[in-house]
Symmetry: C2
DNA sequence: TGTACATCAGTGAACGCGCGTTCACTGATGTAC
DNA sequence: TGTACATCAGTGAACGCGCGTTCACTGATGTAC
């Protein structure tokens, strides 16, 4: 028998591990056997802590949501002004992509059609939550005068989300050869010019 | 016995049908039984024309590739100048999304991690081909003077790809309530400001 | 402080469903004479 | 123009693998007295 844990701690651990697997292989490739192995247990042990596969994915998405939202909130709190908050958020996304962190890949894969209906609507809610948080930062930028007042915040927020998504894909395709940080720096210049003054 | 067809015609028909199913349900939800049904045949009939599931998906991606590249080429040929070509391409993407066409959804889902290795590398090649075609249009724009010469064409092309991707996702999430055409018009203004003069 | 008992996380064997795939067959269509 | 034959697209039953899920069990850990 492996190391015993109380069910709350185990659920947490498994949800995190599931998120990592999700990032690597997508929901299509995610399976209970691999999840169990990644935490050193046997497949049936998973059912001590989750109702089933979908329940695991649901918990993984909760972890994902918390991480993404925290990423935006942290950037907003730490930066001196709204535009710098967005720049900080963007470079942190880039860092996560470089280090193989799960968050960006999941965000990218949320575009995919199909899959479990409830799970799909959950990822959509998470994405909308992300975008509306970015939108709030854009509004801050308008108040502070950094962002032009004729810019539609919702549109700018979606544009911001679009700065990273194709880059994630190229990174996945070309690996190390694609310099994410350099790309992000260049695309940030374009974004600033799009929403800023002059 | 259903309507007989020679194998070339049937392959074509099935590849197209497979692309539609792929757009609706993703590769995860795609299955041979539904494909067969959608062309009025029995599952085993599929194997008269394809080696197996992956072979079907491969053929569907060929159809997809041809359509996407043709979309870019057509916009480039029909428009008066490079910037108008990109605008035309963008509005056509929007139209396709509105009408539920397969192309945009597949493009979006190409971000997803996991899946068959060969298939994945194929979608990556297709995406790179798309981006490099857009990049060529951006270069044209620099030659014609519409696009600033300090803009990196590859970066601008990725930014362009990012204009549509998040919109596809919101459209999927919010359905009719999300006005894609209006969004695309607004985000185009931002893009033009990002890469154009003043 | 030690013993008896209850709880509950982890195990391993087995089940069963979905689904891709195979194969011997049918019968329509096109070709040779 | 009609008959015999070859070809080959479509059929349906059956197979088998992968994988999610169940369940009776084990034994570690924590609690009551």
């Amino acid at each position: 028998m492996s190391q015993r844990m109380n069910t709350e701690a185990r659920r947490e651990q498994m949800a995190r591990a599931a998120l990592d697997l999700l990032a690597e292989r997508g929901s299509e490739g995610f399976n209970i056997a691999d999840l169990a192995e990644s935490v050193g247990l046997v497949p049936s042990a998973v059912y001590r802590h989750f109702e089933g596969r979908e329940d695991v994915l649901d918990a993984a998405l909760d972890v994902f949501r918390d991480r993404v939202y925290r990423l935006v909130d942290a950037a907003r709190n730490e930066a001196e002004n709204p535009l710098m908050a967005l720049e900080l958020l963007l470079t942190r996304h880039a860092k996560l992509i470089e280090s193989g962190g799960a968050v960006p890949y999941i965000m990218a894969s949320m575009n995919a059609p199909g899959g479990h209906a409830a799970r799909r609507s959950k990822t959509e809610r998470i994405f909308r939550g992300y975008v509306s948080r970015v939108e709030a930062v854009v509004r801050d930028g308008q108040v502070s005068g950094q962002v032009r007042s004729d810019v539609d915040p919702a549109t700018a927020a979606l544009l911001f989300a679009g700065l990273i998504q194709p880059a994630i894909q190229l990174r996945h395709a070309e690996g190390e050869r694609f310099d994410i940080s350099a790309h992000v720096a260049r695309v940030w210049d374009l974004f600033r010019r799009a929403v800023g003054h002059d």
